[in-house]
Amino acid sequence: MTTSSTQFEEKEAIVIRFAGDSGDGMQTVGEQFTDSSAFAGNDLATLPDFPAEIRAPAGTLPGVSGFQLQFGSREVKTPGDAPDALVAMNPAALKVNLEELVPGGLLIVNTEAFKKSNLLKAGYESDPLEDESLSTNYKLVKINITELTKQALSESSMKPNQKARCKNFFALGFTYWVYDRPLDPTINFLNSKWGKRLPEVADANIKVLKAGYYFGETTELSQNRYQVSRADNAPGTYRKINGNDALVYGLISGVQSASKEMVFSGYPITPASSILEGLAAQKHFGIKTVQAEDEIAAIGVALGASFAGRLGICATSGPGMCLKSEFMGLSAITELPLVICDVQRGGPSTGLPTKTEQGDLLQSYFGRNSDLPIPIIAPTSPSDCFWVARECVRIALAYNTPVILLSELYLAIGSEPWCLPDLSTLPEIPSNVIQPGEEFKIYKRDPETLARKVAFPGMPGYEHRVGGLEKDESGGVSYDAANHENMTRIRAEKVQAIAKSLPPTEVNGASSGKLLVLGWGGTYGAITSAVNRLQAEGFSVSSVVLRHLNPLPLDLEDILSRFDKILIPELNLGQLRLLIQGHYLRETIGFNKVQGRPFTVSEMVEKIQELL
């Protein structure tokens, strides 16, 4: 684009939030801003935040949909704490979000939406835009976005309400001007999305986007502009990826490395549905997807597929995990490979289906009758879902066991840039199948891994029966006391034995010191950012963020022993903490947040400082 006359202020990182009605297209412009920033070479992380209702009534508080992202020239590991800039498309959006805007932050509002009826719906008694404090405390930019959008489209043949629907792109265009973002990625997106089917829609949106941009250029608004330089990223090919997409690719990559066919069976549930949807779109990879009648059926189909020699995979969220628990027991006692993805959301019960939480760790550990451990692995960032998915496939096939992949809404729908791996360099994943000439006893085990071997239908000579009744080594139903004790212990030891196959645990910082921050899964970003910041300030703090939760790493107890204090931040009431204390008898300090939101870096910093 043409360079503007305004001077740019250089920033290391910026946090911006778009907020409007559910129908206002905030998720779309958020994604576009993200793409544009990625294209500009920034590191970034995103946090979409939308209501559980499809389109809550226009103008109301519960109907507000938001999208926050942080982009920076330095490493960005979280979507940021308080936003530096807020785009509020209506009074409700202002009401819901204003409190979090940093003092002095940039506040862009669509004045047209601040009509009486909307103010009322948002619970404003008077127009906040007329309140002086707003312009005192923030850099308030009032734009009649709706009107300007209409003007930009005055020559278009679209209906008025269709035109109005383009207004999000006006707001986007203006922010592009403020933050010096390239327009091309968005123009390309619009052309490829609408260009063929509805070229007038593409054109209109592009026109409005540019109008927003030039509005900054041409008006007399004394607006600062900011620049965020390219991040210093390692060389490579990058793309933006969210957790569920990474998970989908990770599963495909895993089965490819294992030369296995995948049968995926899911039942829609937020925020796991897009895994089913993502895989369903990949039929050309030979993937079979089945939308089952419920979550019980979904795991049943997957387990059946694994018994038949393919790899069965399913994905769900908390309530669906409840329903899978009986089948999890069957999959673990029959010792068949299976990957069960749980994308955690706010609970309990139906809870807060579109908010994030780490509530299902203990359910994953213990949510079935009797002692029956199942390996659990949690990704730490959106792109890590790719790697964890592969690791789950590896363990499922090597040990012939179900594995729980414990993801989080925050990762599933959050995005970050991802340096693409060269798939041809990834290791093969071996399957643990009986080989011709080998004697087959169902529960005969490898003395090292304790894993059994499988044989599957179609293989002559290995006909056998499995099932949920306790069995002896050769697979006969057995109610024998000693056999049951032995089998129960060995099932537990087999899961423990996986720990031997894990690399040493990475400690971020010194390997001993005053405080260790111990987290798991999606808190990685906030923990690491906070710890890095404090380390830079010279504090004696290190961090470990676990991916392998069951079994816990063999070296963990030793690592814990090298620190004076252990802080365990979790988005639950202390689930990992109970396990750590129970296993290692090591006193720990809990830092627990159950608000449907991730930790902010600053609250993490504050908590750590409190302990140092």
């Binding site: 793409d35 294209f39 390309n188 390692a234 060389p235 490579g236 090919t237 990058y238 793309r239 690719y249 495909i252 490819q256 066919e261 049968v263 039929k283 050309h284 990879f285 030979g286 993937i287 079979k288 089945v290 089952a292 009648e293 019980i296 059926a297 795991i299 049943g300 189909v301 997957a302 387990l303 059946g304 597929a305 018994f307 038949a308 020699g309 393919r310 069965g312 009986e326 027991g329 069957l330 340096c419 693409l420 060269d422 798939l423 011709p436 000439g437 004697e439 087959f440 239908p457 179609g458 293989m459 002559p460 000579g461 006909e463 056998h464 029966r465 099932g467 949920g468 050769s474 139903v477």
Partner: protein
Amino acid sequence: MSTETLESPQPLTKKDFVPPNEVRWCPGCGDYAILNSIQKTFPELGVPREKFVVVSGIGCSSRFPYYMQTYGFHTIHGRAPTLATGVKVANPDLSVWMITGDGDGLSIGGNHLLHVLRRNPNINILLFNNRVYGLTKGQYSPTSDVGMKTKSTPMGSIDHPVNPIQFAIGAEASFIARTVDTDPKHMVETFKAAHAHKGVSFVEILQNCVIYNKDVWEDVYGRDARAEQILYLADGQPLIYGKDKDKGIRLNNLDPEIVTLGESGASEGELLQHNPKEANSLYTTLLSQLVHPQFPTPVGVFRALERPVYEDSLQAQIDAAQESKGQGDLQTSLVGGGSWVVE
């Protein structure tokens, strides 16, 4: 399970399907006869032994896989249809047989049964209907009559029973049949027909639980009753029954009615003619309404309709996708939506 017999024996005999372990049903249980008939049927299907998979839920009937020298899976209560679907979808080449009971299939498992029937994978489902929960020691089941006194209903059941055939129609099953545990020949015939059908086959088997519901079917298929009470369905044949083949079923508006054939009675031409290919649900519904004691009990193939087979449709989509997009190349897909290079 030695490694010597890597090739499945050909030709197969009944003995090839008898595993070394003991059968643990009660002496006299109807399940033995069914097991026997299946073991007789399998060698005659031309399917190598290693390609049979027997899947079941939980119940006396559902112990079945343990008694078949094939691949087998004794799953959990009510969920066999899901697992069987997974097996078949994963490997359409296998011959999948699912065993369930009236409790397993119609109480806890009713929903999965509904959905497997409507999806129409090529699976053979045998529902052992003894109108009671055997394994949990004799509570009433969804097929028990109103008034049945059991441990859990000491004053009699108050639940209107499910008619398994009517249920299968409601689920749009493409193949529906019924047979009885006392007639090995008819069982084998019916099982073969189920196997021959492309798509899901639903077979209700009237089965005797000698411990908790002894002789529940005696009035239908008992030595004395049988000849007058069983209506053998035969493709293209009129609905005739009775020791002397002198009774038949005629349609009176939408009501079935029993007529006596011959001299002063009705003529064969008035009778309904059996047509398992009749796609209209009304005819199958009519058969489902022939219920003891008002009517004779039909056995045989009620319905056999051609419908797209689930796993075939699934494979067809994969083939189509690969045809149009080529076999997936993951590295390319990764770059896919948009990427940039840092040098």
